[in-house]
Structures are given as C-alpha cells and as structure tokens.
C-alpha cells in the first residue's frame, strides 16, 4: 500500500520503490496513477487530500474521553514492548496510531480488548479506564469487554460460514434471534456499505467474496454486536487501492456513531481518516514509546517533536 501514496513534499523515504521515488509537485509520473482513487493533489495538505470528507471538520476538541490509558507498560516475556504509554481515546472520534514496524502500535491496540491474553507469557502494567473500570484488571470479564470493544483485523478473517451466519455470529452469542436478528444483520451490512453487493446471496459462503468485501463483512460483523469502540488493526493493508478507499470512507461515516482506534502503516491514511493521532517509536533506549499525541492536523503540520516530523515527512520509517 505504501507504493503509490505520496508523502507530502520533502524527499521520499528510502522505503519507496525506485520508480515512484521522484514525485514532483507538478507532474506525477504516469506510473504513479496506480493509486488513482486515493491520490489527490500533491501540494494540498494531507488532511485536504480526502475527496470531500475532511476529518478536521469532524474534530471535536471537547470530545469526552472514552478510554483513558495511563502509564501502560507491556512485556513479551522479559522483552518490553510498550513503555509508559498514556493517551486518551476520545468518544466518536477516529484515533490513528502510526509509527514504523515493530514500534508497538499493534500491541497497544490489542491491549485494549485484551487480545494479547492469548499470547503466553505476556504481562501488562498500568491502567486503561473504560466506563470506570480498568481494562487491564484481572477481574475484567474479557468476554464482556470484547462485546463492548470490537476489533477488525489486518487480514480479513471471515468464518467459513455463510455471509448471514458470519454477521449473526456475535449476535447469536448474545442469544439474539428471529426477526430482530435479521434486522440487525441487514442494518450492519448496510452500515458497512456491503448490503447492495450481497443482499441476493446472504446464504452463500463468505469465502467467495473479494478481499475488500470480506473486510467490510468483518467490519459489519463487528458492528452487529453494537460495540462502543471499534479497534482496527491495519484494516486496509491487505487490500487494493479502491477497496482501501471504500474502507476509509466507511471509517469516516462510522465515526459519527462509534469511537474508532485505527492502527495504520500508511500516514496518508491516518491523515485522511483520523481526528487524533498518536505516534509510536521503538528505539534502543525506549521500547515502544508514545512520542507524540494530538489532533492529526497538529501532528502532521506542526509536530512538536523532531522524530514525529521526520517520520511523517518520510525521512525515515
């Protein structure tokens, strides 16, 4: 996904392929067109690159804190992966977590619904206050927590069941049935912008859908249980540019009703969809630290830390 995304001005990071490296402001070479739908004018500020929806318009400086993470440390065995991370997740806003590979952003995301519990020998310190309770507390019921905080994964992971049964999966856990079940399934598919494409084949296998459709199915599946918070772990990284655009539009729409935390490799995606951004970095001396957090526009245009500026401008990472 990184290939066609143009980093704003400055020079291109070393990770970019040679063919796309010389991106001028005026004439992007024709090879760059592969990312057409996502790409907008070069000179525009990142936030303005989205066709129509400017996440800055949805920025609510007074948004309430939905999850308040304080002094989080996380360990894989003896190896520390997150160090003293504190940030608020704001209600009905999209919070993007960016940073180079291995910086701990996905690990952080997975602490929020205790997904790391599945990995043996891990340890969490600190607290994340969600509705007055500490998520990391031993007494937290993870089953209930995960019904409140849903998750969409990097690779689409539909169950080998019909489209309908996939969406109904979480609802059936909660013993929803009959007419209500059908209504919520339909509404979830509508909300995930998938209904028109699948309404005539709800009983066929979900594995027959395209990658982008499968990912929207997974979003619909997560929405069906009406979570308060939706965690997304690089939800578009395995998708082509058009499917990515659809997912991004969907995130923007969903942020009206859901609190969303999205981990992304793709800085332009963070700029396009999020109101708040957290920048993670892992270095020898500080493993998995949150370097900077703030409104996305601030991070991308007036970052206070040099590391952040270097990263968002493509000087490394």
């Amino acid at each position: 996904m990184e290939t066609g995304i143009n980093r704003p001005q400055k020079h291109q990071g070393s990770g970019a392929p040679l063919t796309g490296a010389q991106v001028g402001d005026a004439n992007p070479p024709s090879g760059e067109r592969m990312n057409e739908p996502v790409q907008q004018a070069q000179s525009a500020s990142p936030a303005e690159q989205v066709g129509g929806a400017d996440p800055r318009k949805n920025l609510k400086p007074d948004a309430q804190t939905k999850i308040d993470i304080q002094h989080l440390n996380f360990f894989y065995g003896s190896k520390q992966a997150l160090t003293d991370v504190s940030l608020p997740i704001r209600e009905h806003q999209v919070t993007a977590l960016i940073g180079p590979s291995g910086c701990g952003k996905s690990t952080f995301l997975r602490t929020l619904n205790r997904m790391n519990d599945l990995i043996p020998n891990t340890r969490t310190e600190g607290e994340a206050i969600f509705e007055g309770e500490n998520i990391y507390s031993k007494s937290t019921d993870v089953v209930l927590l995960r019904q409140r905080i849903g998750m969409v994964f990097q690779r689409p992971n539909p169950f080998p069941k019909s489209i309908f049964d996939n969406i109904a999966y979480g609802l059936r856990i909660q013993h929803t049935s009959g007419k209500q079940l059908h209504e919520i399934v339909e509404q979830s598919l509508v909300d995930a912008a998938l209904w028109d494409e699948v309404k005539d084949r709800l009983n066929t296998s979900a594995l027959g859908l395209s990658g982008g459709q499968q990912q929207r199915l997974c979003i619909a599946r997560a929405l069906a249980v009406k979570p308060d918070v939706l965690l997304m772990d690089e939800p578009a990284s395995a998708l082509d540019p058009i499917a990515t655009l659809k997912i991004e539009e969907l995130i923007t729409e969903l942020s009206a009703n859901y609190t969303i935390v999205i981990v992304t490799h793709n800085m332009q995606q963070a700029a396009r969809v999020s109101q708040y951004t957290g920048f993670f970095l892992s270095r020898e001396e500080y493993k998995g630290r949150l370097i900077e957090y703030g409104p996305t526009v601030e991070i991308f245009e007036h970052s206070k830390r040099k590391e952040t500026e270097d990263y968002v401008s493509g000087r490394f990472g």
Partner: protein, 311 residues
C-alpha cells in the same frame, strides 16, 4: 538456445575460454538433473508396480472364494460372523476412541499451557505409538481381560485397540486443529465468544475435514489389526455371535486368517485347498475394505472441505 546467444560476443581468447567453461558447467548441471529424474522415476515405478501387483495378486487369489455363495454364509467356509465382528469392533472402538482422542487433542492444543507437561504427554504418546501391537495385546489381556474383569471379550479387544490407536488419533486430531488459522480463533474471540464457543462454532467445523480423515485412517488401522486382538478377543465365536453383547469372545477377519493358516491349519473339517481358498478370500476382503476406507478418507475429507469453503 545455444551458448553463443546466451554469452557475450567472444571477441578475445579469454572470452572464448570463459564461454566454453560455462558451457561445460551448464552441461553437467543438465546431465545431473537428467540422471536424478531417471533414478527417481525408476524407484517410483518399481514401488507403484509392486503395490499394484500385491493388490491384484490378492484379489485374483481371492476371486474363487469371493465368487462362491458359501463364503458369505455362516458355514465352515463362510465369513459372515467375522465380517460382522470386524465392523462391530471397528464401531465400538471408534465410539470410544473418537471422543477421547478429540477431547485430549482439544485440551492439549487449545487450552493447555504449552510447557513441559504437554511435551511429556506428546513424548509418552509417541512412545506408545512405537510399542508393538503384540505387546499391547498382552497388556490388554492383563489389564482389561484379567484385572478389568471383562474376560476375553469384544470390550477387552476394543479397549486394547483404543490404546493402540490413541497416539495416532491424537496426533491426527491435533494436526487438524493446528490447520485452522489463528485468525479465525481471534475473530471469534474478538466478537465476545468464550474459548469453548469459538472452538465449537469456528474451530471444530473448520477442522472437520482433518478430523474425518483422522477418523477414517484409524478405522483402517483398526480393521487391519490382528496381533492385539489375539489375546484379548479370542479366536472362536460363540453361538450368539450376531448380537451386540460386548462381553462375548469373537474373532475378526484378521484373527480368523491367522488361525486358519497358523495354529488352526489342518485341524478343522476343511481340506487344505479349501483352507487356502478361504484364506485368500479373507485376504481379498480385507484389502477391499481397506481400499474403500482409504479412498473414502480422501474423498469425504475433500468433499467436506469443498462444502465449507464453497463460494
């Protein structure tokens, strides 16, 4: 493609030499490859022909018995009782084996902390898998027939077969669970499923092709087992052989074959040639049953897989 086309135009003497050297190396690579293909092909053909020859030979030998009506009856030259017992013991063993080994596989793979205890259990199971079946037969006699109080009986035989097949079933079922992508488990748990719910609704259905294959492969092994049953199930049938009573002694196709050409040779009312025809017939029936079991293992597993993933 000739070497001239592939190398630089050889303008100098050094260039020509280099090209010749390269040609030699490439020629040797091709020669070695051809030799390897030839050897592997020959081995494959020999082994395949041997297998097919064995099967065809046994079927031809067994044809006279297979074509005679008395073979399917209950008389001295009939195998009706043995056929019944073979399937009876197969089903009885699987009914005990399947839930036990699947349960153990689920616990070991999905729940247990992957530490030394799991390693020890796997080591023990693999050791058990290496124990000769005749030894397990003796163990079964002591443990189930004598101490267990079941006597020489179908139940003692089935329990012995359970010990014999448990390691393999465990390994096959664990492999089936392992083949289910972790993504699916996470997807289910992230929707607020408990671990057991995720296993029941996502993991087990996805593992079904592997589970069925495991079930049928152990079925083949049970059908073909003789040594473990010699001491535990006996070699003779009582009058009430066609009942479901698990506490009676009885023989199976394999133990009947053993008795016929082994300790019982010449002792029955049958002539030597009759005995030979009967033995060949039993061997042919066993081959046919195993063929059917193995073919259905493949096709049923594939069928379920296709149904689960069908678009």
């Amino acid at each position: 493609m000739s070497m001239q086309q592939m190398t630089q135009p050889a303008s100098s003497q050094a260039g020509i030499e280099r090209a010749q050297q390269q040609a030699q190396v490439v020629r040797r690579l091709h020669t070695n490859n051809t030799i390897a293909i030839g050897v592997l092909w020959a081995i494959t053909v020999i082994v395949t022909v041997l297998f097919i020859a064995i099967i065809v030979y046994l079927l031809i030998q067994g044809a006279p018995a297979l074509l005679s009506l008395g073979f399917y009856g209950t008389g001295a030259t009939g195998i009706a009782a043995e056929l019944f017992n073979t399937f009876y013991i197969l089903i009885l063993t699987e009914v005990i084996l399947f839930p036990i080994s699947l349960g153990a596989a689920i616990y070991l793979f999905e729940y247990a902390h992957q530490g030394p205890l799991v390693t020890i259990i796997h080591f023990a199971a693999e050791t058990l898998a290496g124990v000769p079946s005749i030894v397990l037969g003796l163990f079964g006699f002591a443990a189930f027939a004598v101490y267990g109080g079941f006597g020489i009986s179908r139940l003692a035989g089935a329990l012995t077969l359970l010990c014999l097949n448990f390691p393999q079933a465990l390994r096959l079922f664990e492999a089936a669970l392992e083949s289910v992508p972790g993504d699916l488990r996470e997807g289910s748990l992230a929707l607020g499923a408990s671990k057991w719910h995720a296993i029941r609704t996502v993991v087990l259905p996805s593992a079904l092709p592997g589970l069925v294959t495991g079930l049928i492969l152990t079925a083949g092994k049970i059908t073909g087992e003789a040594a473990a049953l010699l001491f535990t199930m006996g070699l003779f049938n009582p009058a009430n052989v066609f009942t479901l009573n698990p506490l009676i002694a009885s023989d199976t196709l394999t133990t009947r074959l053993y008795f016929l050409k082994g300790p019982g040779a010449g002792s029955s009312s049958l002539s030597f040639s009759q005995e030979s025809i009967l033995a060949a017939g039993i061997a042919a029936v066993l081959i046919l049953i195993l063929l059917i079991i193995n073919i259905s293992a493949r096709s049923i597993g594939r069928l379920i897989e296709r149904r689960l993933t069908a678009a």
